[in-house]
């Protein structure tokens, strides 16, 4: 919709994201209310934003210590020189993240399902799953990464991979699976028992009820917290820096920082992480919105 419409009347009575909004009129939660207010609202918001930003920048740059801060943290030359290497190293973080995520999603689901098994026969599996999640949620991730990343390669076991990065990522997987298993479990428990009854009454086995009815609903419900854990994991790939020889982004930044006595490279690392994590957060919103929209479209189409 056009911004100069003076606030179309039929839109003003709806909150952004309202399912009653006509199809195809996408509104964001942040910009939606603005658009609804029309051109005048947008203009006011724009001016007030510029003024506030200008004040903040002025307050910071006019402080007496700004030159030193700028030199140590925001050195453009240093940034330009180190950024390409850091960006390249960051590809490793992405790789760690992608590999770890796949295993975490699968392993955590196994843990959650084990914990939801009923009946005395399954007590040992249930107990193991509980002990596992308690253990790995209770230990700092950095410690797990350190223990595995330094510990296992030092054993020199035959037939076992000896890469520090490999074991660092395994540490991430073990640790994050405990958190993600709890997220899954919350989702599984949030599915109403009547859904199980409906599935079982059709003659579906417990396993099939879980597979076709419970888990799909559970996973849909926990997508936002799952993505939050993704974001945490993406950041925690930096922990691998503690054990590896071949640097990922954080370690690469540290190397430059130590060599050049300048913190700008580390801010470049921070920027790389933000480039991933902020879009991921927004993606979460879009995904939820799309899911809701699809479910509520239906009959109109």
């Amino acid at each position: 919709m056009g911004m100069g419409g003076g606030g179309s009347p039929e839109l003003q009575q709806y909150q952004p994201g309202d399912p009653r909004l006509p199809e195809g009129q996408r509104t964001s939660r942040i910009l939606g209310p603005l658009r609804a207010e029309g051109a005048r609202g947008v203009a006011i918001a724009l001016i007030s934003t510029v003024v506030v930003l200008a004040l903040i920048v002025w307050a910071i740059t006019s402080s007496p210590n700004w030159p030193e801060v700028k030199q140590a943290f925001f050195d453009p030359e240093e940034f330009k020189r180190t950024f390409p290497d850091i960006a390249r190293a960051f590809l490793r973080n992405i790789k760690y993240f992608m590999i770890a995520e796949v295993f975490i999603l699968a392993w955590a689901l196994v843990l959650a399902v084990l914990r939801s098994l009923q009946g005395p026969v399954f007590f040992p599996l249930r107990a193991l799953s509980i002990v596992y999640t308690d253990l790995f949620r209770g230990i700092p991730t950095v410690l797990v990464v350190y223990l595995l990343g330094f510990g296992i390669p030092s054993l020199g076991l035959p037939g076992v991979p000896s890469g520090a990065a490999f074991w660092g990522v395994v540490g991430l997987i073990l640790s994050y699976s405990a958190y993600v298993a709890e997220v899954y479990r919350a989702g599984i428990e949030s599915v109403h028992p009547s859904q199980v009854a409906a599935a079982r009454s059709l003659g579906l086995s417990r396993t099939k009820a879980l597979r076709f009815v419970i888990i799909p609903q559970a996973v849909r419900r926990v997508i936002p917290p799952l993505l939050n854990d993704f974001i945490g994991l993406q950041k925690d790939t930096a922990l691998v820096a503690f054990v590896v020889a071949i640097p990922e982004a954080f370690k690469q930044g540290q190397i430059y920082q130590a060599a050049d006595f300048n913190f700008t490279p580390l801010l470049a690392v921070a920027l790389m992480f933000l480039l991933i994590t902020v879009p991921l957060t927004r993606f979460t919103d879009v995904l939820l919105e799309r899911q809701r929209r699809r479910r509520q479209a239906g009959t109109a189409a």
């Binding site: 009854a197 579906l204 099939k208 009959t299």
Partner: protein, 251 residues
Amino acid sequence: MNADGSALRVVDLHKSFGGLEVLRGINLEVDEHQVVGLIGASGSGKSTLLRCVNLLEPIDHGQIVIEGEDVTGRGVDVNRIRQHVGIVFQAFNLFPHMTVLRNVTLGPTEALGISRGDARELSLDLLERFGLADKRDDYPDRLSGGQQQRVAIVRALAMKPDVMLLDEVTSALDPELVAEVLNVIRELAAGGMTMVIATHEMGFARDIASRIGFLDAGVILEEGTPEEIFSSPREERTQRFLQSIIDAGRM
């Protein structure tokens, strides 16, 4: 089909939840193609009885025989039994993450092992028959309560059950949506479906059922033809229950 023509027999069924005995010796016999109506106040045990028959609740004591087979014995494959006994719930319990069509095909494909194509054909036929063909790609939350309940009935029918259990299927519906669901059930009865119907719709029960059972405090206190129960109930508690229904203007 078994020799004595009995589709369902319940013998001295007992069921407790915690310390509360909800069913205290239920005896019930339903013949093939017969429709039995269960009436009684909320909490009298109607829903529990139906859930026990579907083996959704383990029973404490007694026997349930479906199509000549004792389904309460040890080592009975509950999944196989449930494939022959359809149940429709008060709250519909459709699967919200599946389209109408997938709701209906799930049982045939995953429990009966029918191929996707055949299940689809069978389901589309049923949806067509009950006026739901144009809803097949919708998700349940886009349907009215009446439509959802009709889908739930179709979902149970797709399993080609021998017996259908209907648990207060119109109680969660707005009044104007009740008729469409009752019409579906009438059609099933006309087609010879064996049914046990727990209901608060007395007029409907009188029309459709060949026998009525009045449940009170976990036993079938009185049983007979609709005329006997509704016109000349013997038991004082039955009389009182029916009077309260009449007073409430629901009959």
